[in-house]
Symmetry: C2
Subunit: 440 residues, 2 copies
């Protein structure tokens, strides 16, 4: 009987094990998870902090018991893998009950990502990383007891934490290295809109670099000033968690584990999936790294399919991102304009502002759209949207278009729906596209 061992019970690990179970009812499947949670959702942390829900079990799509009982998967929570012997196909793990040695025929590495750290002096009792749901209850308790809170990093997590904390009435200072917030998500035209919006609620410090954090998180020293606060959230990004295997397995140029289309590492029976795994960007054909749950889930599904004997290939990523801040939804897909240049494209772009509803329908929201295409091939390279409603679906549509190499004119002709209550007869996306056509 084949044995599958999965290291890490997050999105990718549980997808892989569930899919393998479906295809191979007799396989012995064991998942080692270092925390108390499996199939957990870090994306929910800001909303838990905001107080939108209170039951930490809701962080889990399914409980360990569900996987044990319904899917016959051995789930070892609070169990940390300490070593992997890839040549002998053995995983060593440890829990409070002692050491475990597990042999495998197939291995899935799905260890996720780790938050990047900053230089810290004099303790860290007031330094927080909103990274893992297993610590969310403690995180929330502490944050709720503080008044002046610094967030370092104005990416998606930083902005989401700013939304949560300002909603709670906290005084927030947001310190960001970039010239505007969300600069890894949006180009400046659209990024400025969000930056200015957040400035209404929080003190935003741009183009500023943190040198060190002192007094356990109560003092922040940057290249331009000092800030005294009650505590500090560090949200300066994540990095693939490859600690366990980095000397044993081939990593890619992004620092994540290199895999082929089947999600196989350089060991034929060892798969990697999720935030610890490198992918290929569909637009560039080059290595890329996207640490988001939908990608992790699909990587896991592909790994599990192949382990289960049903061949499947992961096509790569287009870096779809979506977040929100108060009344604004914020989405992007594909390459930003600078990225496009860096990869050797000759980007042309159209940025338009419009409304989300027919001119006569009440309560229309603003929507701002940037579309980037390649002047030579006419292919759509990227899209960015900031708006009050129906941002997600437009981004999803552009994701489909970009993944299959739609040119500008293909995109113009997508027969988008029109309902006065929720769209425009010339959809704002089509208006932007039409502008690119006129440039021809």
């Amino acid at each position: 009987m084949d044995k599958l061992v999965v290291i890490g019970g997050g999105a990718a690990g549980m997808s892989a094990s569930s899919r393998a179970r479906k295809l191979k009812p007799d396989m012995e499947i064991t998942v080692f998870e270092a925390t108390k949670m499996v199939s957990h959702a870090p994306c929910g942390i800001p909303y838990f902090v905001e107080g939108l829900f209170n039951d930490e079990n809701l962080f889990m799509t399914y409980t360990p018991q569900f996987f044990e009982e319904k899917r016959k998967i051995n789930v070892k929570i609070n169990t940390k893998v300490t070593e992997v012997d890839l040549d002998s196909r053995i995983v060593y793990a440890e829990s409070k009950d002692g050491k475990i040695k597990a042999e495998y025929d197939y291995l899935v590495i799905s260890t996720g990502s780790l938050p990047k750290k900053l230089s810290v002096e004099d303790g860290n009792d007031r330094i927080f990383y909103a990274h893992h749901p297993a610590n969310a209850v403690e995180l929330r308790e502490k944050l709720w007891s503080l008044n002046n809170i610094a967030i370092i990093g104005g990416g998606i997590l930083g902005v989401e934490m700013a939304e949560a904390l300002t909603h709670l009435g906290k005084k927030v200072i947001l310190i960001h290295r970039g010239k505007y917030l969300l600069n890894r998500t949006l180009d400046q035209e659209l990024g400025n809109i969000i930056t200015q919006r957040i400035m209404k609620d929080a003190e935003v410090r741009l183009d500023e670099r943190v040198e060190t954090i002192k007094n356990g998180g109560r003092l922040i020293i940057t290249d331009r000033g000092k800030y005294e606060v009650d505590g500090t959230i560090v949200a300066v990004g994540v990095t693939p968690n490859v600690e366990l295997v980095k000397d044993k397995i081939k990593l890619g140029e992004t620092g994540a584990i290199k895999v082929d289309e089947h999600m196989r590492t350089n060991y034929r029976e060892v798969y990697s999936a999720g935030d610890n795994t490198e992918s290929i960007h569909i637009v560039t054909g080059k290595p890329y790294w996207v640490p988001f749950a939908p990608v992790a889930n699909k990587m896991g599904y592909v790994a599990g399919s192949n382990i289960g004997g049903h061949e499947m290939k992961f096509p790569g990523v287009v870096n779809t991102q979506i977040t929100k801040y108060k009344e604004f939804y914020i989405g992007r897909v594909g390459l930003q304009e600078d990225e496009a240049k860096r990869y050797g494209f000759k980007p042309i772009a159209a940025t338009i502002s419009g409304k989300t509803r027919a001119r006569y329908y009440p309560d229309a929201k603003d929507i701002h759209i940037k579309i980037i295409a390649d002047e030579n091939s006419k292919k759509i390279l990227g899209g960015q949207i900031v708006g009050g409603e129906e941002v997600l679906g437009r981004i999803d549509m552009l994701a489909a278009a970009i993944m299959k190499g739609f040119i500008i004119e293909d995109t113009f002709f997508i027969e988008m729906g029109y309902l006065p209550a929720i769209s425009r007869v010339w959809d704002p996306v089509i208006v932007a596209i039409r502008q690119l056509m006129k440039d021809e």
Copy 2:
């Protein structure tokens, strides 16, 4: 100097003339419009009746003055074209100021559609067609004065009028020939959901055929009963308005004007665009007819481009439809399951019900999705969604997928955005698609 004459100043006609003007600044362009409105939006009528806006000028994207002044287009409103001499290239028209004779080098026929009528006896002072915005003020005044109103026809317009009138507190009886409402939009699984919802607000009579309407609209006789009401709205569909040219120009099998990819009729200098024009269904490659404004606009844009000397081809349609009823948005694209069978496909389908937000995020809405694919080619043939939010964009995404022949697996891998506040980590569309994959 080239002369362009456009018959009909709706979406298609004004798109065609605007685009031609852009490309040929010196062209002499004349638009004949039988009513007082141009670039008008019939889709707004139910919302005007509901009282969501009061200024009838909002039905127009731009006024005749705008086109005259900003785009140098001669707009002749309240002017009816009475005859077209295609061999001599002359259009004859009439207004209260007298007769007009206009020669052309290019002609665009964009006469739109007409509402289908029913057998009527004894006058029609209480029979209404919610078809043209030019009559919306009068329509609304009359409807507001009535209490018991029948709507005949449970398609999109009938449902939208039911939403408006029940919202106003009117007693509505909705009489429909089909087994469930919106049966030309949705398959029965999803159609039932909407039908049951509307039954809470209105008396819904299904599978019932109107034989005649009497007493000016106060008495309806069907094959199963008689209904006394204060007035009757007839919403049994529309038909291409080809009266003017039906004996002179080639019509297609749908009854609309046949055109090539350039929107040209069998006369090289005569184009046709909008609701009076036949298209090709991209999925089947067969003639099809879609009387919706976004298609009309793009047809007009293509006609205007070609007249302006910039070659462009219209790729065909996938019949995207979107409407709403109270808290439900309702969308479809591509073929329904029955249609797919009729066209010789071997449809497989997955229907799922899910939620629109992460399980921990408050106020999630229900969403119901049906995806139809072809068992042989694995191509996506159609999609239908009924749900409380973010229906439009998912339909738009499926429209893109269907237009470019995505197979099931391509669609599974679309990197859809995930934000707990507005989607699920396994998007409901992907859940439906995944179910189709498991059937393989």
